[in-house]
Symmetry: C2
Subunit: 480 residues, 2 copies
Amino acid sequence: MNDKSRFVQKITPKSTDFSKWYVEIIRKAELADYAPMKGMMVIRPYGYAVWEHIKNHLDKKIKETGHKNAYFPLFIPESFLQKETEHLEGFSPEVAWVTHGGEDELEERLAVRPTSEAIIGHMYSKWINSYRDLPVLINQWANIVRWEKVTRPFLRTAEFLWQEGHTAHETSQEAEEETQKMLSVYKEFIENELAISLISGLKSEREKFAGASATYCVEALMSDKKALQMGTSHFLGQHFSKVFDVKFEDRNQELQYVWQTSWGVTTRMVGALVMVHGDDSGLCFPPRVAPVQVIIVPISVGDWKKTVLPHAEKVKKKLENKGFRVELDDREQFTPGWKFSEWEMKGVPLRLEIGPRDIENNNVVLVRRDNRKKQVVSQDQMIEKGHEILDDIQKSMLNASLKFREDNTHEVNHYSEFQAIMKSKMGFVKTLWCGNPDCEAHIKEDTKATIRVIASEKEKGSCVYCDKDAHLVVYFARAY
Amino acid sequence: MNDKSRFVQKITPKSTDFSKWYVEIIRKAELADYAPMKGMMVIRPYGYAVWEHIKNHLDKKIKETGHKNAYFPLFIPESFLQKETEHLEGFSPEVAWVTHGGEDELEERLAVRPTSEAIIGHMYSKWINSYRDLPVLINQWANIVRWEKVTRPFLRTAEFLWQEGHTAHETSQEAEEETQKMLSVYKEFIENELAISLISGLKSEREKFAGASATYCVEALMSDKKALQMGTSHFLGQHFSKVFDVKFEDRNQELQYVWQTSWGVTTRMVGALVMVHGDDSGLCFPPRVAPVQVIIVPISVGDWKKTVLPHAEKVKKKLENKGFRVELDDREQFTPGWKFSEWEMKGVPLRLEIGPRDIENNNVVLVRRDNRKKQVVSQDQMIEKGHEILDDIQKSMLNASLKFREDNTHEVNHYSEFQAIMKSKMGFVKTLWCGNPDCEAHIKEDTKATIRVIASEKEKGSCVYCDKDAHLVVYFARAY
């Protein structure tokens, strides 16, 4: 294969076939590739860099809110999973089982962790004795395996990466507060760093985590108008502390079970970045998590390697020294135009062009990925302008996501209207629900839409499905 | 259990029973705990913080040398492992096998990765086409499973954490250079950050990585005078590129197999820190990787919560602002003396005491963990002195480790001497070897010592075992 013959091939337009576009762009931009095992993927360096930025930003927030990282085992004995019935029922269809170690068959099968409540519950029972040991605020960054039948890179794969926080508290109220606190950490993080606007609230009984008393979550609208769950925060009550016997001596010398929470976000967030911000030309990363924030493309005319390139290298150094994540594309075998398309596809927020005339005039050309606006700025102003533009891109992207969500949220009172929306416009339907799981089930059957969140606000009115008294404000959508 | 009754219990002295001391200190200092599954451990927050510092320091070096992080799947199909015979034979006795996904038996067993050459080889064959794609310089931070029969926390566990670099190059020479480069990165890192003095060199055929052309490694001497392998860097030649068909079109448009390397270090390094620097009072962390660098213990006399504590808090803020990792032990239920022992056991490099008299004189008391030297310094000098002392501790600890290694390295010409040393003094035996694996095997049988490294220096003389001509300078030791 001759490299010179390579060029950025046309990607299926997003509007023509969203699913195809999604998979193609992930592979062409080298975010990820399929592994040879069904349902598994490889996160390539360009995609992993996004995850690293997510991880670094979020890890800081998790630590600032008093949590410490630890590491629990990958394997969980089958008997541990069996202790909490709901938990077992929820996860056992998707557990990968280890049955042999070396040549020997194991006495008890080991689950490759689908989540770690069970093993952590067991360890907490050994570590917690007194109210003085509380709260326990631990987080872990780990890989998780869930044997999913239908998979899609980043969104649903047999293995994924995540963080899972697991906390234990003296009182129910304290645990409830922790659940809410981490939900806000996620919300702030996703809006500020990923530039993705969210709704948040409670899951219905049907949608909640297997083993939780209550699941809160943040949900976003992808650009195909389907919803994606972006993070969850569970109030576990005493479900796990009772089955794993996590007791403490309280301030009155009485034994009590601890109150627990767990919360997590996953590599799925990388998929959300693709689906929220991407367009027909490819990816578009918000600057705060972009692997490369500025791509420098030297204009290759005449003896450019001797005339333009040294200037481009100086510009790169200057930007690097000021903390920009910057790369210089000095490949000989590609034209500037080819490079423009390639880096557009890879979603770099800002392109910096520099050619002989720019050098003469002490200028550089800056082109934004989000709105393609071009401006010529002097090299003396380059740093200041660069920061300004990246900040503006970050803000504009969040605003665009907010506007998109608002434009595609439909307040609905009648079921016929609900059905019509799910047939054509999609997006979020905001409506009232009586709380009856049967209504929820019927709606899902008719429209494929599920309750994404129950909002914290309350209203008086009637259920969109059964017309009985209702006060729960809910958001429905078709979801990934 | 009443917390007031807890106190730092006596740990088995290191000199009495090293193994027992090792395990006790790891559990009492809360570095790690046993998991309920045989051979697995939980890395607790205090231990994980050490690993995080190691990871952050090393990740920076790995990136500075041009590598990028990625993530490859946890599972490897059995047929992939079978492709490289040596590799399979080396690893199959210790592979954990996944045989079921959910309710279904898998068509092919999946190995939980014991190392990732096989899956990465396969992916590289898809990604690499031209010399322009080379070198590929990828690293991954991941969990690894090896079903070991005899385990010990951090040193040998069924699951551990590591980084594994996997690179592909145009030429053999370039791959050789990479192998050496990463060996030096490890050496510098371990000496500078972990304050552990090393020897480095080549492994013998018997000790090399299953599937490598050559394995280089760094080895350290633990304080029980047994050696520990601290990191390895493998020149893989074309072993894996040939079986996974990783070819590229070279500069003459001819197809060639790539040349590969792989290299790794693990959570074992935390165990090395315990075994090299610990003493009868417990852990002793080098400041650069210590979870806590300065522990503030307020002297609790009289109304200390109102008089001493506010000052201690101010001191803490000041130190934190200057980048020290600092904690303040304000627990009421323990005496200062109890706290001194506890933080000594936890290996905090510097203790800062502050009492009413210190406040009066605008002083603090600083006590080093390594040599227990105490000095009174004025609060104005505290920052400067603090940095100075931590730097000095770091240097002193490396010097102590270097001296210990030198004092316990015995140059030997006669086999009787060799045997005598392995019966009493232990440590490294530096001697000459003819290169015959039989001599190596006999020596191991007689003394339990193995060749830790073949040094790069050459000498003329005779083999310590068979007396035939020899030019290989080798270091023997009993090893973990």
